[in-house]
């Protein structure tokens, strides 16, 4: 295990992602408490559903888990590293290397081929263009889009676009992938294909957190964490732990 210059162990957790006693307040009168007492541990290799109705705080939870927003208090450790003391620049670095994002709106850049969109996942690591391209092609083949490498997003179906976005989230080998309503903009057939892909990646060892409002999607995943009013209402892993 690596040590910091002062000799202390830098790692605070062995999990891919760990939240401990996280509180998130937004300023107001009175302040809005979006997350209260949230503790959640996602181990390497897990596939977890975070499920909750809109307004339950799951978007805030996604932002905090993805280091896009800082908690008011509590610990957020990405791949074992406490993010509280990290500067905005270093947090960007954490995202560029350790976290993969998949969004409901895909967020693919028009005027760029599928390969170039996926390659953006490596852009901010300073990987050379040739390596970016090579690894992007491999990632697209992994999500079953080897035949759509040079298509622009507007020449792809919704399901294909989301698979490009998944490839972009995987291309840099993150500690975990955060998928925010990945099937929210898809028809039922594409939804099936994307969920099959997520299960397949999980089977290959990828750590994935799916945020969804759809209990049907959540139930199909190995572990469900339900969120209500900013609190974790139910975590199937803890229940299983209690049960055993």
């Amino acid at each position: 295990m690596r040590r910091r210059r002062d000799g202390r162990d830098e790692r605070v957790s062995g999990a891919a992602l760990e939240l401990r006693d996280v509180l998130k307040e937004f300023p107001g009168h009175p302040p809005v408490r979006a997350l209260v007492d949230v503790s959640l541990r996602v181990d390497h290799g897990e596939l977890v559903a975070v499920v909750g109705p809109s307004g339950s705080g799951k978007s805030t939870l996604l932002n905090v888990m993805g280091t896009l927003d800082r908690p008011t208090s509590g610990l957020v450790a990405v791949d074992g590293v406490d993010t509280a003391q990290l500067s905005d620049d270093v947090l960007s670095g954490v995202r560029s290397r350790r976290i993969g994002f998949v969004f409901q709106q895909f967020f693919l850049l028009e005027g760029m081929s599928a390969v170039d969109n996926v390659a953006n996942g490596l852009l901010y690591q300073g990987v050379s263009p040739a390596d970016r391209r090579e690894r992007s092609i491999a990632a697209l083949e992994r999500v079953g889009l080897g035949h759509r490498l040079w298509h622009a997003p507007n020449h792809l179906s919704g399901g294909e676009r989301q698979r490009v976005a998944v490839a972009r989230a995987l291309v840099h080998d993150p500690a975990f992938v955060l998928a925010d309503e990945p099937t929210g903009n898809l028809d039922s057939r594409s939804t099936g294909a994307v969920m099959d892909l997520i299960h397949g990646l999980h089977a290959e060892g990828t750590t994935i957190v799916v945020i969804t409002h759809d209990p049907g999607i959540a139930e199909a995943l190995p572990r469900q964490v339900s969120v209500l009013d900013g609190r974790i209402e139910h975590d199937s892993a803890l229940l299983a732990g209690v049960a055993s």
């Binding site: 390497h44 290799g45 620049d89 270093v90 960007s92 560029s96 994002f101 969004f103 300073g126 990828t206």
Partner: protein, 409 residues
């Protein structure tokens, strides 16, 4: 399955997980926006193009015309003196003495001289023209060496030096030919001078150093003396000075031409006027330069405008890039680069247009094309600076945007 499934991967300290954007990728990212929105890119670069085209074109044209003028001066020579009667206040009807042409020719530093006398007759296209319509033309008796002394040239036909002296023929100055409606001498052409029809044997090119002569019709001195009333005293004498200081020669001319009343002799150096014209900055040039600067400013504001809109429109992209690991500085650099690319594009297009216009216009005028390097380099540098300044505020706004807020769009 393998290492990825089992606990801590890589185990690098967080400070080593720094974001990094390669310099080449800064440009690649900067180009991606303008490339994806081509028509908007073209329109937003247009303002700067017009500004740069105006600046380069105006500077190119004024320099080219100036150099054409200087070429003219060099060709015509700056060593010509014009000697006329007239001068001091109360000089009255002063006139050069009859002997002046001979005396001037005797000055050692005068290599060539030629005189002209006013003829008291008017010239018309035909006898049918009413007497009042002289067209402002004058009839002049000129010596054979007038054209050579002035470095003039013949446009059509011949000058008087190729015609036996007492033949009553006429040669037209360029303006005189135009006003009399004589464009060429393909057929025998006659003009009415006084009571006589006189054949035209030649048409002259312009005399840039003696515009008066352009409005003149020239007759041989002998023929003029026989047929018309000729003043005894010469109206004007032209002298070429060779060797020695022209100013020294200029000082001895009045006393030589009219020893009795040297103060009544006016000596001028017609090339002075052309040189002054070449040196003077044309007011119109200054005006167009100002307009170009305004166009450049408006172009810069246009780019700033487009960039502000782009930042609002592309919040999603900004959020995505932050999620992919871009730092605030990377976002700022991206939009700044984009603005500079837009204005540089405008600058290049403007440069091409400006140079093209200069070439096209210079070709119609027969000028040598001169594009001052400072105009080209300065114009392009101005475009870059404008792009950087215009992009600064939008880029800061883009960088300030919080990733969560950007992704909400």
């Amino acid at each position: 399955m393998t290492a990825a499934t089992v606990a801590p991967t890589g185990a690098a300290p967080a400070t080593a997980w720094r974001s990094r954007l390669r310099p080449g990728d800064v440009w690649r990212v900067g180009f991606s926006g303008p490339r994806a929105r081509k028509s908007r890119t073209a329109l937003s670069a247009l303002g700067v193009s017009i500004g740069i085209a105006a600046l380069v074109g105006v500077l190119g044209l004024s320099e080219s015309s100036k150099s054409a003028l200087l070429d003219d001066i060099a060709r015509l020579g700056t060593n010509l003196l014009t000697i006329e009667a007239g001068g001091g206040f109360g000089a009255g009807d002063s006139a050069l003495p009859d002997t002046a042409p001979v005396m001037i020719d005797r000055i050692p530093t005068v290599s060539a001289s030629s005189a002209a006398w006013a003829v008291e007759a008017d010239v018309y296209r035909s006898e049918l023209i009413p007497e009042g319509e002289t067209g402002g033309l004058q009839v002049v008796a000129a010596e054979d060496d007038l054209v050579s002394t002035l470095n003039g040239s013949v446009a059509d036909g011949v000058y008087l030096d190729e015609v036996p002296g007492d033949y009553p023929v006429a040669v037209l100055g360029s303006v005189a030919a135009e006003r009399l409606g004589v464009t060429d001498l393909d057929r025998d052409t006659y003009v009415q001078i006084g009571d006589d029809q006189v054949q035209v044997v030649g048409i002259l090119d312009e005399f840039p150093l003696a515009a008066d002569l352009d409005r003149s019709v020239f007759l041989p001195v002998d023929a003029a003396t026989t047929s018309y009333d000729l003043e005894d005293s010469p109206a004007v004498i032209y002298a070429r000075v060779d060797g020695g200081d022209i100013d020294d020669t200029r000082e001895v001319v009045p006393g030589t031409a009219d020893p009795e009343n040297p103060e009544e002799v006016t000596v001028s150096r017609p090339s002075d006027a052309l040189e002054a014209q070449a040196a003077a900055d044309d007011a119109l040039t200054t005006l167009f330069l100002g307009l170009g600067a305004v166009a450049l400013l408006v172009g810069g504001i246009g780019i700033a405008n487009v960039m502000v809109i782009a930042v609002i429109e592309r919040r999603g992209e900004i959020g995505l890039r932050r999620a992919l690991g871009a730092t605030r500085a990377h976002i700022r650099r991206q939009f700044l680069t984009e603005a500079v690319i837009l204005s540089a594009l405008g600058g290049v297009v403007g440069l091409v247009i400006g140079v093209g216009v200069t070439y096209a216009y210079a070709a119609t005028q027969g000028w040598r094309v001169i594009i001052p390097n400072e105009a080209a380099a300065g114009g392009f540098a101005a475009a870059l600076v404008i792009g950087a300044v215009a992009g600064l505020y939008p880029a800061m706004r883009a960088a300030r945007l919080a990733p969560t807020e950007a992704l909400r769009g």
